[in-house]
């Protein structure tokens, strides 16, 4: 699990980095961590089954940047 403090540090570092880039007018940094368990109850009286059926358990983390850049003069 990635804690909230780590995610906060990540977006702070990210925005500091983006702010220093040439031609960036505005930007948003987004960070997240997710854990996801899918559970299905599946009971078939006439066919062997597991009852609780977990089709998946996943963890994921993501980092994204939305940036507005200055137009080049032509």
């Amino acid at each position: 699990m990635i804690g909230l403090e780590t995610l906060r540090d990540c977006v702070r570092n990210g925005i500091d980095f983006v702010k220093k880039q040439k031609d960036v007018i505005d930007a948003e940094i987004f960070a997240s961590w997710n854990e996801h368990i899918t559970v299905r109850l599946n009971y078939t009286s006439d066919i062997p089954c597991n009852g609780v059926h977990e089709p998946n358990q996943r963890s994921s983390a993501a980092l994204a940047c939305l940036s507005f850049l200055r137009q080049e003069k032509r």
Binding site: T38, Y43, I47, Q57, L66, F68
Partner: protein
């Protein structure tokens, strides 16, 4: 001011992701994966465990009406773990994407070990609950797996032109040029969209039973989407794909259509324009003679043969989401060994032949092999995985796949097709006094247990006295699945396998590439269209 839509950039280093995560990384991780899976096997009451670790490198671009819309390159690494544990064995799963910073042997060892721990805990918890409810629910059963051969193998990707060597500029140029050429054909072309991607996948599979399989494949695909409309008319829409498990050469003509992607896109555009001038197909209340072409039969095989012969549907595991199968009500009441189609019809699923559903081993490490689903009209078997094979008492046939390693493998079609016949398709049409020629699939609508279907066609032609005459638009056919299969009285010798890139199944949804096809068929169905 220029706006860049969701420009995802690497924050810490100015190095493209794709230049750092490469499929070759698997070579340095094999030993680690093997060690971690062996450790899983030593856990108390662990009956089985496997790890799949995969890397996917891809480049893509798209354009509309000759103008660039986007392009990019990406690389990802992820893993999935399955553990079978507990007194009354049950599954536990865990999957995760991994960042570049973690993709070294030491960090991988750490995240895999954590993953094993989580999957094992889920398995034991599920097994304990299953045991607790057993007295109330007698069908609850410990999971057992059908035996398979233990394999150690390396499968290399096949390509003439390596996707990794194709420049993004070339990919974008093909998109802008083709979509521009499509738009330029005629002012009635209202919208032309091209999407292209090319890449390589490599996946490592290791199990506690000792299997270690390293498989790679390339995939190149082009999608065309076109809208045509006459002034004041009703729009006509077409989308279709060219694709294969090969390199960039796919778009230069090494594909099922044996033509370049540009020629294919222009052909689909001209066909769509032609349809804007056609009459709407009148629906019928009674079945009529229909001749369906191989492209249409790709979706027909997919929907009325492929899905109902997936063992998880058969065993009602997909009831709440995707549906069941009319072929299997229970062990006493089912269609196995019974006539469900014309004796002229054979259908099978075969990952060993070329097509989008090709592989050597499935994602349980089972060697993929041809499964005869319907033999001369008799239902013979289902596509399965090891757990479902054990329940059904059938040999495992290697049909389990996951879209990405962090998803759980489920039963998927491979190359699921109607077998070739021996009749010339022109002869099949020439024998029809009054009927319709159904050309190229569009959109399916299928009943819950697949016992009937409605599939729309790109084009429908009238057949009069053995000759193709009038073209109609926005039509299709509907029939009871068994009636349609039983009424087949001619099977062509023009067998083809088409790429179907977007078969959706599972929770969470997994979009899978499969191969579907067959030869020209003749049967009976009602026409759908305008009343």
């Amino acid at each position: 001011m220029r706006y860049t839509a969701l420009c995802i950039i690497l924050l810490l280093r100015r190095i493209p992701i794709a230049s750092r995560i490469k499929v070759e990384l698997i070579d340095t991780l094999k030993e680690t994966v093997t060690k971690v899976v062996q450790h899983a096997g030593s856990l108390k009451n662990c009956k089985y465990a496997d790890i799949r670790l995969g890397i996917h490198e891809t480049k893509y671009a798209n354009a509309e009406d000759g103008k660039a819309k986007g392009m990019g390159e990406d690389a990802s690494i992820s893993f999935g773990i399955r553990v079978l544990a507990g007194e009354m064995s049950a599954w536990g799963y865990y999957g995760q994407s991994i960042g570049e910073g973690e993709s070294n042997p030491k960090s991988i060892h750490k995240v895999l070990t954590l993953g094993i721990k989580k999957a094992y805990a889920r398995a034991v918890a599920n097994a304990n609950k299953k045991a607790e409810f057993k007295s109330l629910a007698p069908s609850l059963t410990a999971v057992s797996l059908a035996r398979i051969d233990i394999c150690n193998d390396i499968i290399n990707a096949v390509y003439d032109e390596d996707p990794r060597n194709v420049s993004l500029k070339d990919i974008l140029t093909i998109c802008t040029k083709i979509s521009g050429d499509m738009r330029s054909i005629c002012k009635d072309v209202q919208y032309a969209h091209i999407n292209v991607h090319t890449g390589i996948n490599r996946e490592l599979f290791c199990s506690t039973e000792g299997s270690c399989i390293d498989q790679s494949y390339t995939l190149t695909q082009g999608m065309v989407s076109v809208v045509a409309q006459k002034p004041g008319g009703i729009p006509e829409v077409c989308y279709d794909y060219v694709g294969d498990l090969r390199g960039w050469e796919v778009l230069k003509g090494k594909n099922v259509y044996k033509q370049s992607f540009g020629d294919f896109a222009l052909l689909r555009t001209r066909e769509t324009l032609e349809l804007t001038e056609a009459e709407f197909l009148p629906a019928t209340t009674e079945p009529v003679v229909v001749v369906t072409n191989p492209h249409f039969n790709a979706l027909l095989a997919h929907e009325i043969v492929g899905h109902p012969t997936e063992a998880d549907r058969v065993l009602k595991l997909e009831t709440a989401y995707a549906g069941r199968s009319w072929l299997f009500r229970d062990f006493q009441d089912n269609e196995l060994g019974k006539q469900i189609a014309s004796p002229l019809l054979t259908a099978y699923s075969d990952p060993s032949i070329h097509g989008y559903g090709h592989f050597k081993y499935d994602m349980e490490g089972t060697p993929g092999k041809r499964v005869n689903l319907i033999e001369n009209g008799i239902l013979r078997g289902f596509m399965n995985g090891r757990e479902y094979a054990a329940i059904l008492g059938h040999p495992p046939n290697g049909s389990m796949r996951a879209t990405k390693p962090h998803y759980v493998p489920i039963v998927r079609m491979t190359n699921t097709i109607f077998a070739n016949g021996n009749k010339n398709p022109e002869e099949i049409i020439a024998e029809v006094k009054e009927g319709y020629y159904i050309v190229n699939h569009r959109i399916p609508s299928i009943s819950e247990s697949r016992e009937n279907f409605r599939i729309s066609a790109q084009k429908v032609f009238r057949i009069e006295n053995g000759k193709i005459t009038k073209l109609y638009r926005q039509g299709g056919i509907t029939a009871d699945s068994k009636d349609f299969l039983m009424n087949i009285d001619a099977v062509g010798n023009d067998f083809e396998v088409f790429p179907i890139p977007n078969c959706g199944k599972g929770q969470p949804m997994q979009v899978m590439r499969v191969g579907n096809g067959g030869p020209t068929l003749r049967s009976m169905a009602r026409l759908t269209g305008h009343q």
